[in-house]
């Protein structure tokens, strides 16, 4: 089984610890992980802002880079959903047959991390240990576009020492939405502040999610408010063990 990590541009530049966690976690589960260095970005920021043509070269690049791998795994529901939902749309609207070929080949091989663990590897207990209180925010694209369902929660519930606390209004958007956070800054901030208020009300130490872009937005508000919890990617919790606890 040849598995490639699609780390995503945000994780590569801003949250490398998440990528490192995915590598350690998958290797611990016996998966040999490859990282094709030619990868950059799935094109979601461009596409969702209305620049479909500008995403086309990135779609082709994704196709080339991940050719030959059985599975492509990414620790981002949003980027996985971009490939799965929007690449076929880009292919339909574009005139280039290469786009259709990429969409056809990449879509069935693209997995968000929790899908890969539960559906492909068939595990929910990944042997992790994380003795902290955690509340989980299901990011919109993972929740609604991918339909991740109970997968992330099941994985978290199996983590040794972890106490999961219910997040009020969990399924409400945190207000990030890519360039929405810039174009409609006031509404975005109001949504994020409500999300943070709910998270703080749980009394948890950690707000966990499966998308670092949302966590970057929520974490930025937590940091600004000096709130008593921090944002952390699910992969980093799953990678944490008794021998090598998360820093």
């Amino acid at each position: 089984m040849r598995v490639a990590l699609f780390v995503t541009c945000v994780n590569d530049a801003v949250h490398p610890s998440t990528g490192i966690a995915v590598v350690r976690l998958l290797e611990r589960l016996g998966v040999e992980v490859g990282f094709p260095a030619g990868q950059t970005c799935c094109g979601q920021p461009q596409y969702n802002t209305g620049y479909r043509r500008e995403t086309e070269p990135l779609v082709r690049r994704m196709g080339r880079v991940f050719e030959g791998y059985d599975h492509v795994v990414t620790p981002s529901g949003s980027c996985a959903a971009m490939v799965r939902d929007n690449y076929p749309r880009i292919a339909r609207k574009g005139s280039d047959p290469e786009l259709s070929r990429v969409a056809g080949s990449l879509v069935p091989r693209m997995y968000e991390l929790t899908e890969f663990l539960v559906d492909v590897l068939g595990v929910t207990d990944v042997g992790a240990c994380y003795p902290h209180t955690v509340t989980y925010h299901p990011s919109c694209h993972g929740l609604r576009m991918l339909g991740l369902g109970e997968r992330p929660r099941k994985l978290l519930e199996a983590v040794k020492g972890l106490e999961l606390r219910e997040l009020p209004g969990a399924e409400e958007c945190c207000g990030f939405g890519g360039t929405f956070a810039l174009k409609n800054a006031a509404v975005s901030a109001a949504m994020g502040e409500d999300k943070v208020r709910n998270a703080v009300s749980t009394g948890a130490e950690v707000l966990c999610g499966a998308d670092n872009s949302c966590l970057m937005h929520i974490g930025g508000i937590l940091h600004r408010q000096d709130a008593p919890l921090r944002a952390l990617h699910l992969a980093e919790i799953l990678a944490s063990t008794e021998e090598e606890p998360h820093a």
Binding site: G38, C173, N184, V187
Partner: protein, 472 residues
């Protein structure tokens, strides 16, 4: 569309003000959360909801594909039943037709059942210019009219008002329009409803002309259907001598059997009721019962142009249930007025720019009034993929250039170039990581991001460098 909303500021500007209005946010939060929870319960009672949703989508799509044929059939059926059909290409034409029809009766007053189509074309204002007064009779529309306000929700146009505000509006303004509010009116819902009832009863009994919209038009029989909660609509439909219905052409369904689907999905999606209290149907004219004259004004006003857009046309499936508004986190904070149209919320963000075109500032900004969270698509009873249409319209907005977009396009192109040259990207990341000690937590000035959020601290090295060191 109506001139009422022309010159609206862009969505971010209007929404930015609304976000700071604590009363408005409290009113909206309470109302939308209550109805969204009730809707979820009402929908979950039906085991075949996904099937009904798909059926509604299919019926609407099939009808839209052959709309020309069904409209001709509808016209024949209405005419055969004793009604008269008028075709209106745009708001001006529709307003002119209605004003002429009212003037021909010699009347100067009309009663109206809540109708979004007439709000869309600004009919009340057009009639006023002709010396004709239109009385809104839907309770929420009455509140909006008396308060010299604008509707801010599809189903609950006065959702932004609380009981105290409504009491104040009734006490202050009812006397200017007709029967004054009772002395010592409190903000108890029953008292407010009674005040409205007494005020409106006068209008119903006096009116010779009624104006309505319709939720559906059945092509096979020429029957129009209004679905409502208060019964005021039924009064408007049955008491006057002349009834004028102004309806968007997309409200057509081929047969009575098609109603079976929508009469299940519409009430549950909108009011979270299994069945709405009043469903009125009317077909042409009948001897010795109801209006003696019936006119149907079929309104295009941008619908044919919308139909021509392969992705955008799905917006015409909308049955105006407002479920998308009630789950939308952006609507909840921004309020309905920020959308600058009679159609607010997610559906408004895709419908208004298509019906009106995207020349104005507000219309060009509406496709961006969403975080693309997808909650609207989830609840839509006719499965309109609103996020898909939003992105599609963003492409049109970005392609038009205009304010901000030229710079943005250049930035996107530059970023695209870097992202297609991994070596350049890697070098940039390395520099950013190396200089991270110098990066400010907040950007100088009033940056949109750092107003309320801190920037993340950059890591000592990007992931690709860690990989190179540790795995190759």
């Amino acid at each position: 569309m109506s001139g009422t909303y022309l010159g609206m500021p862009s969505f971010p500007e209007a929404a930015g003000k609304a976000v700071r209005d604590e009363t408005l946010r409290g009113n909206l939060r309470h109302a939308t959360h209550t109805i969204r929870d009730k809707r979820a319960k009402a929908v979950s009672e039906l085991v075949d909801w996904p099937g009904l949703r798909e059926a509604g989508k299919q019926i609407k799509d099939r009808t839209l594909r052959h709309l020309d044929d069904y409209l001709v059939q509808l016209e024949k059926s209405v005419t055969a039943a004793g009604g008269t059909v008028h075709w209106a290409a745009d708001a001006d034409e529709a307003n002119r037709i209605v004003a002429e029809l009212v003037k021909a009766t010699g009347e100067r007053e009309v009663v109206k059942v809540k109708s979004m189509a007439t709000q869309e074309i600004g009919l009340n204002e057009a009639l006023e210019a002709e010396g004709i007064t239109a009385y809104e009779t839907d309770l929420a529309e009455l509140i909006v009219q008396l308060g010299e306000d604008r509707p801010s929700h599809i189903l609950v146009p006065a959702i932004h008002r609380n009981r105290g505000e409504i009491r104040e509006i009734f006490a202050r303004t009812m006397s200017e329009w007709g029967r004054p509010a009772p002395e010592g009116l409190t903000d108890a819902p029953a008292e407010l409803a009674e005040a409205a009832r007494l005020h409106l009863r006068e209008k119903f009994l006096r009116a010779k002309v009624g104006i309505s919209g319709a939720n559906f038009m059945v092509a096979e029989t020429g029957t129009l259907v209004v679905v409502e909660s208060e019964g005021n609509g039924r009064m408007c439909l049955t008491l006057p001598e002349t009834l004028i219905s102004v309806v968007g052409i997309e409200k057509t369904v081929p047969t009575w059997q098609d109603l079976e689907v929508f009469l299940q999905t519409l009430p549950r999606s909108s009011t979270a009721e299994r069945m709405n209290p009043y469903t009125s149907t009317w077909t042409g004219t009948t001897e010795a019962d109801g209006p003696k004259n019936f006119h149907l004004v079929l309104l295009d006003n941008g619908r044919t142009a919308t139909l021509a857009d392969e992705v955008g046309r799905q917006a015409l499936r909308c049955i105006r249930c407002s479920a998308c508004l009630n789950v939308c986190p952006v609507y909840e904070r921004a309020g309905g007025h920020a959308y600058g149209s009679v159609y607010p919320g997610p559906i408004g963000a895709i419908l208004s720019p298509q019906l009106r075109g995207m020349e104005s500032e507000i219309d060009a900004s509406l496709p961006y009034a969403s975080s693309l969270c997808g909650a609207c698509y989830d609840v839509c009873p006719v499965a309109i993929d609103i996020p898909e249409v939003l992105v599609h319209l963003r492409e049109r907005a970005a392609g038009r250039g205009g304010r901000g977009h030229r710079l943005e396009k250049a930035a996107m192109k530059a970023a695209g170039w870097v992202l297609n040259h991994p070596a350049v990207l890697a070098a940039g990341e390395k520099v950013a990581s190396k200089t991270r000690g110098l990066h400010p937590k907040r950007l100088p000035g009033a940056s949109a991001w750092t107003d309320s959020r801190d920037l993340p601290e950059l890591p000592p090295e990007p992931f690709r460098d860690w990989w190179k060191k540790n795995r190759t």
